[in-house]
């Protein structure tokens, strides 16, 4: 034991602050949140220290899970909301990745004004996202929004973007793509710059076409970076709450799992903490399954 501490004490000392903070502020709340899913807790029966009122909620077993997983519309139509969440997540991440990769490849060339282009393209990342959400909400307005104005000028149909239709989902996805491309672009640009230039030169000498060079050098060279950023992108997008909430509010056409949990939390006659927490646990479970599968797939690819 003594030798163990002698050897590792400084490592643990450096890790301790993080473990302490996340332990207290993530693990304890998480444990409590999981506990809530087995109760009927809501704003009316939770302990309220301000009013000096004790807790009166009681355990209900698996009832919350049964309600939610039945897909009952009164509990957020879990399965169709999950499907929409998947459309949202994979649509956004696919667009982030392909647009980000395209721009990174362009920026990685010797092109005049590269620094200016990069500074401009990165701008959506620098602006706080709640401001961007306001800006897009304004631009998407059906009457005075500049987007419909432009569409009318060119003679295209001008849908009511943020109304009760799937256009709302398209709109929030566009906003989120706009927000997320710079991160992908910058990360992939870093990856591109780490690929040794002589690989390309050798390929060119061998007469490889640009497409072959992209497929056989660029993509494999980016595998490690892509693996990380796609995984992070999926996790972040799956739980992206602010964009949807600020642009469309509680619109059932843009409802994803995390926004529904938040709706249960903050709206309705009684804030239903139990159902919100149940959604939270289900979100975490879906992500865990995804991450496990993803890492296994990556490892399989490396072995091949």
């Amino acid at each position: 034991m003594r030798r163990f501490l002698d050897r590792y004490w400084y490592a643990y000392a450096m890790v301790l602050p993080v473990v302490l903070v996340t332990g207290v502020l993530v693990l304890i709340p998480l444990a409590q949140g999981v506990f809530f899913t087995f109760t009927d807790i809501n704003e009316g029966n939770i302990a309220n220290p301000v009013l000096d009122r004790p807790a009166t909620f009681s355990g209900v077993g698996l009832v919350n899970y049964l309600h939610v997983l039945s897909g009952d519309p009164a509990y957020g139509s879990f399965w169709s909301t999950l499907a929409r969440t998947l459309v949202w997540t994979f649509g956004c991440v696919l667009a982030h990745f392909t647009i980000g990769l395209g721009l990174a490849v362009l920026l990685n060339r010797r092109v005049r004004g590269r620094a200016v282009y990069r500074a401009l393209l990165i701008l959506p990342w620098a602006v706080p996202s709640f401001i961007s959400a306001f800006a897009w909400k304004y631009m998407f307005n059906a009457q005075y929004g500049v987007i419909n104005q432009a569409l009318r000028v060119v003679g295209l149909p001008d849908p009511v973007w943020l109304g009760q239709s799937d256009w709302a989902l398209v709109a929030v996805m566009l906003v989120n793509v706009w927000l997320g491309v710079p991160f992908m672009m910058v990360a992939l640009l870093g990856g591109l710059q780490a690929i040794p230039a002589d690989l390309y030169e050798a390929a060119e000498v061998d007469g490889a076409s640009p497409w072959q060079r992209f497929r056989d050098i660029t993509l494999p060279g980016l595998r490690a970076v892509s693996g990380t950023v796609v995984l992070l992108g999926v996790i972040w997008t799956f739980n992206m709450f602010a964009v949807i909430y600020l642009v469309t509010g509680a619109n059932p056409n843009t409802r994803i799992l995390v926004t529904y949990a938040f709706e249960r939390f903050f709206s309705g006659a009684s804030r239903d903490y139990a159902i919100a927490s149940t959604y939270g646990v289900l979100i975490l479970s879906v992500l865990l399954v995804f991450v496990a599968g993803y890492r296994r797939a990556l490892r399989g690819q490396e072995a091949a």
Binding site: A11, Y12, F241, F265, Y273, G280, V291
Partner: protein, 280 residues
């Protein structure tokens, strides 16, 4: 890349970059344009660049007609700087330990950085509220700083671990030979070399706190003087109509510090982001 590009390819390249840049910049530009218009002009169905434009919106927002904008601003600055300082400290120490030392629990630690990002924080609000209450931090800026750190630190530590990995361990050994303690090596040798990575981390943490809405609205008291910008700006979004001109002016005032903090850092971004560490 040695081959000279044809003229056509060159035009195409610039056209693509210009097009993308316009899309990236336009929403911000449009907010700027709107911020000079009176609320009534901002909702006209034929948008124009200038329409009775003036600095009135800015004057009114700064004068605090709709709420104490300067107090919100001050709160946001304090909370964002506090988050930045604490998050950089926490993620640098943990990232360094994970990069240099092979200690039991290292792999679970790295995995937990990834796992913590999966927690839907919106759902932790009530339990978090209870924890903060028990610690006596509920309603305080410091409580919010701690909460923001739990969001920012896992990614930052992950990122910095990757950055420390690129600094040769020989440097550490040379420092040890010269008689520095493990902390001395970290503090005096490695941290100065890691400046680009630290800059990116600092920026990321700053932005996390500067633009966060959900926790700030749930945890800060409803008193106008204790709001942050993200919460305060909601006063311009009324039930039936939004005061777009005022909102735009306030938004510009909020975005300027973030953009100003961003551009000195952005040249480090490419080097500082994680380069493939999912394997953990």
């Amino acid at each position: 890349m040695a081959a000279r590009r044809s003229r056509l390819a060159s035009v195409g390249l610039h056209a693509a970059l210009v097009g993308a840049s316009v899309i990236a910049v336009f929403p911000v530009f449009w907010v700027l344009v709107t911020s000079f218009k009176p609320d009534a002009r901002a909702v006209e169905t034929t948008p124009r660049l200038l329409n009775e434009s003036s600095l009135d919106n800015y004057a009114r927002v700064l004068a605090g007609e709709k709420g104490d904008f300067l107090a919100w601003f001050g709160n946001s600055v304090l909370i964002a700087l506090g988050t930045t300082a604490l998050a950089v400290f926490l993620s640098a120490t943990a990232g360094y330990a994970a990069s240099r030392f092979r200690f039991p629990g290292r792999r679970p630690l790295l995995l937990s950085f990834l796992l913590v990002q999966m927690f839907p924080f919106a759902v932790l609000i009530v339990p978090l509220y209870n924890v903060l209450l028990a610690l006596g931090l509920q309603g305080t800026g410091f409580g919010l700083v701690l909460v923001y750190c739990t969001t920012a630190v896992p990614f930052c530590a992950f990122m910095l671990k990757g950055y420390f990995d690129t600094i040769p361990a020989d440097i550490d050994e040379a420092g040890r030979v010269d008689g520095l303690s493990p902390f001395g090596v970290f503090w005096r040798l490695v941290l100065p070399l890691a400046r680009p990575g630290l800059a990116v981390t600092a920026f990321y943490a700053f932005l996390t706190a500067w633009g966060e809405v959900a926790f700030a609205s749930a945890f800060l008291s409803a008193a106008d003087g204790s709001k942050t910008l993200a919460v305060g700006l909601q006063v311009f979004v009324q039930q039936n109509r939004t005061e777009w001109g005022h909102l735009a002016a306030a938004s510009v005032l909020v975005a300027v510090p973030a953009v100003a903090a961003f551009y000195p850092v952005q040249r480090y971004l490419v080097a500082g982001l994680p380069s493939g560490a999912v394997k953990g």
